[in-house]
């Protein structure tokens, strides 16, 4: 969000990939937003895709795992996770905007293959049908991690979103993602991520075009300084005929017993998030954003109420732009149905939108 407008295409891929990661989740299927959450599944960030039981998927953790023997003063520092996931824990508390009617049908065809059918009826966005599929390979790295992972999604106009994730070595992971608009390639990117014992580095190449001589290069680095503190930075370099530039930003994340505070500062602005887990039912997130380019600032407060005994998940948000929103997700057991209701009220612009969704499977 801190990047210049000319990088929007590259970061659209990231947002599409995040939405692809939970194809089976109603809340995540409203594609504009990143950071999908597994619908009533296991804790926040486990797995790239919401999957039926017995289906193993790679898990990505945004909070560094606590080591079993952390008492020694000189114990090894944990891996800090990836740069993009630093703000994710707070972002996942906020409800996704829902508009119109959405029907999602998930079907696991085998332990490695899953398909998803999505029908969307919307007044604001486009209505249509999307077919998605996910393949998970048999190269098992950990208890819940298998590679390669191939995720594809196509709509009724022929526009395709696809990504392939593979673990090349024990520390190096690669991802290739592409997006087409009907027959035309809109975005394509490749990234390599290296996870060390106490650091993570990644390089992403977006929309490289050798003929025109343009492209976007993004570098990330995140280092654990202490078991609670991680510092990192991002460098974005873009080049196209007649224009060349770079944007840098710094990131700091502090993890407490039940909270995570993250701050990103860059030339384009600042982004601060605070995530607090009050108890097993209640999680609260506070987000602050300031853009020097757009000369705008905003603050949002969100909360998530999880009542597993009632199979209920409620998320609410209010922000400084006089917007109030909420989503309610309820599993209709014993049927494999999940019902989702969402509404958003913009008091300043006098606008209201609501949505309704059903997920089967």
């Amino acid at each position: 969000m801190l990047l210049a407008d000319s990088f929007t295409g590259c970061w659209l891929i990231s947002k599409v990939c995040y939405s692809l990661k939970s194809m089976g989740s109603v809340l995540a299927a409203s594609s504009p937003s990143p950071a999908p959450a597994a619908a009533g599944g296991s804790q926040g960030v486990s797995g790239l895709v919401s999957v039926p039981p017995g289906f193993s998927m790679p898990s990505v953790s945004s909070v560094p795992p606590t080591s079993g023997s952390g008492a020694d003063a000189d114990s090894t520092l944990p891996n800090p996770g990836t740069y993009e996931e630093c703000h994710r824990k707070c972002k996942e508390v906020f409800p996704l905007q829902m508009d119109g009617v959405r029907l999602v049908v998930n079907k696991g065809l085998s332990n490695h293959f899953q398909v998803c059918h999505t029908v969307t009826l919307s007044t604001l966005g486009e209505s249509g049908y999307r077919f998605g599929s996910t393949y998970v390979g048999s190269k098992q790295i950990g208890p819940a991690e298998s590679f390669p992972v191939m995720v594809g999604d196509m709509d009724n106009t022929g526009s395709l979103n696809a990504q392939i994730i593979h673990q090349l070595t024990s520390t190096v992971r690669s991802k290739i993602a592409m997006q087409t608009q009907q027959h035309k390639f809109v975005n394509w990117q490749c990234d390599m991520e290296c996870r060390g014992e106490d650091f993570t580095s990644a390089v992403t190449l977006g929309n490289p075009d050798v003929l025109v001589g343009s492209g976007i290069l993004v570098g990330h680095y995140l280092q654990s300084i202490t078991p609670a503190l991680a510092l990192g930075g991002e460098l974005v370099y873009h080049n196209r005929p007649g224009e060349e530039g770079a944007v840098t930003s710094l990131l700091g994340r502090y993890t407490g017993d039940n909270y995570v505070a993250t701050l990103t500062l860059g030339g384009a602005g600042a982004h601060a998030t605070y995530y607090h887990k009050a108890n097993d039912q209640l999680q609260i997130g506070v987000e602050f954003e300031a853009s020097t380019r757009m000369q705008e600032t905003s603050t949002s407060l969100g909360y998530q109420l999880d009542v597993p005994k009632a199979n209920l998940l409620f998320k609410g948000t209010v922000d400084s732009n006089w917007m109030v929103g909420a989503t309610l997700e309820k599993k209709l057991l014993p049927l494999p149905l999940t019902l989702a209701l969402g509404a958003l009220l913009n008091h300043r612009k006098n606008k209201f939108q609501c949505g309704f969704g059903v997920t089967i499977g």
Binding site: A278, N279, L282, I284, F288, A290, T297
Partner: protein
């Protein structure tokens, strides 16, 4: 005369300062003002999250 002018001087400057502060606080188009307001809201949100979220929904209801 000069004494009256001297008394009016500090009070006038104070009034001007108050007027400037009020215009700054109510100018929604001012980026610095919006930044300070939102920073205050962020701090208030963090305080609320840390201090007012210690209730348990699953605790048994009190018997009345």
């Amino acid at each position: 005369m000069s004494g009256a002018d001297g008394k009016k001087g500090p009070s006038t400057s104070v009034m001007e300062w108050i007027g400037t502060a009020c215009r700054f606080a109510t100018d929604r188009n001012d980026f610095r003002r919006n930044l300070l307001v939102n920073l205050g809201l962020f701090a208030a949100g963090v305080w609320v999250a840390r201090n007012l979220s210690d209730f348990d929904l699953m605790s048994p209801q009190p018997i009345t």
